[in-house]
């Protein structure tokens, strides 16, 4: 079928495709976050758009990408402690692309992306391992009893959702009282044995993150490693619609992956995540 061969042709040049997806992600991300200090950002955006339309591939320097990097650093400078963690990942990815225009070596770009991915996933696992609230399962216990996770499955469990709503109402009532009185409430569990489930789920999360980080470090091109990584991304999306972060992880996967079908899967994840970000169903 011609459509499939066209798709295959696009997927064959995965670095170009990953950079295009990254550029599109940046456009969406900047559109959503550009409002703050917009007066100072607009001249940079003018440079980005002008250089993209008139000067791309025509100058020695990647002006568009340098200006995009400047815009991300501008937000980091102003809101270092307020921006999301994937803002840092995005900044490092854009810096990798900027440098690639100078060294022109795809293996260096891929090593940047691979090691960045290892650092991000490993750091996430270490942070969880160091948190007593997470490792005891109390974090997931809280999130599930408030209906903050597995939102995609909520329509199937309306009874659990009712319980979560009643827990949230109880918290609201408690919030209205003086905390110095040391009053407490008791959660009704959204399903039986939630404490044990939360504990097991917490340990599985950390183990999977560690395995994924080590696997990407050890065999960054392996089909099985990417299959595991894609499963991790999809599981996170089912747990919580962290579409911004997951789109970036999928773009990283696209850079490193050799298998055409898995590349298509990465592309679909990015496209669906971007659609959910644009419609504000997912987080940016």
């Amino acid at each position: 079928m011609k459509y499939w061969s066209d798709i295959q042709d696009t997927l064959k040049n995965n670095i170009v495709l990953a950079i295009q997806l990254l550029l599109f992600f940046l456009a969406v991300y900047i559109f959503i976050t550009g409002e703050k200090y917009g007066f100072w950002k607009s001249p940079i955006i003018v440079i980005i758009l002008f250089s993209w339309f008139f000067l791309r591939n025509k100058t020695k320097h990647p002006i568009t990408w340098i200006a995009l990097f400047a815009l991300l650093v501008f937000d980091l400078y102003l809101f270092y402690f307020r921006v999301a963690n994937h803002h840092f990942v995005l900044t490092f990815m854009v810096l990798s692309v900027v440098l690639c225009f100078y060294h022109n070596q795809s293996d260096i770009l891929l090593k940047n992306i691979q090691m960045l991915l290892v650092v991000v996933v490993a750091a996430s696992a270490i942070q969880k391992l160091m948190s007593s609230q997470f490792m005891s399962g109390e974090f997931y216990y809280y999130m599930m009893n408030r209906g903050f996770v597995f939102n995609v499955f909520h329509p199937l469990f309306s009874e659990s959702l009712e319980i979560a709503k009643s827990n949230s109402d109880q918290i609201l009532e408690l919030q209205a009282t003086d905390p110095n009185i040391k009053e407490s409430i008791v959660f009704a569990n959204v399903f039986p044995n939630l404490g044990l489930f939360s504990l097991i789920f917490a340990w599985i999360t950390v183990v999977v993150e560690f395995i994924v980080a080590m696997a990407i470090l050890w065999k960054p091109r392996s089909k099985w490693v990417h299959l595991l990584f894609i499963m991790m991304i999809l599981s996170i999306l089912c747990t919580r619609l962290e579409t911004g972060f997951m789109a970036l992880l999928a773009i990283c996967g696209m850079f490193l992956c050799r298998n055409l079908k898995l590349r298509l899967l990465y592309a679909l994840i990015v496209i669906v995540c971007l659609s959910l970000i644009i419609t504000k169903i997912g987080f940016h």
Binding site: N85, F88, M115, S124, E183, I185, V186, S198
Partner: protein
Amino acid sequence: MPIAPKELFLKYGIPILAIIVIAIQFFFVKTQHLNHWKGGGYGMYTKVHFYYNQIYIPGVSVDSLVDNNNDIKNAFRMLKIMPNDAHFYEAAQLVLKATAKDSIHVQLWEPSVNSNSGAYSRVLINEIHLKNQDL
């Protein structure tokens, strides 16, 4: 063949930069009580989000303070992200000015949950007493 220093720098410079950012985040978490969710250390989803921490000021409605004053809103947000002495002082100072009181008591509480008993309570993170004459 050994890798040239330039190539080594190009390959590992950016990941090392990411590790430096994580180290800085750890430092701020330990010394300035920075919340794990912020600062580029990838500590999101390690504990309940700071949004659910509660600022409590006896005798003052926090909601109406935030609704009417953008500076207080930003100060409270920073207080929740990084409840260090400087942010407590800044928040208390703004509240004192806005309420025209002689003294103010600002507390920050975080949720605590026990997965065995199901008990949900609040734990005091830190607090400040500030008098008008101290300004």
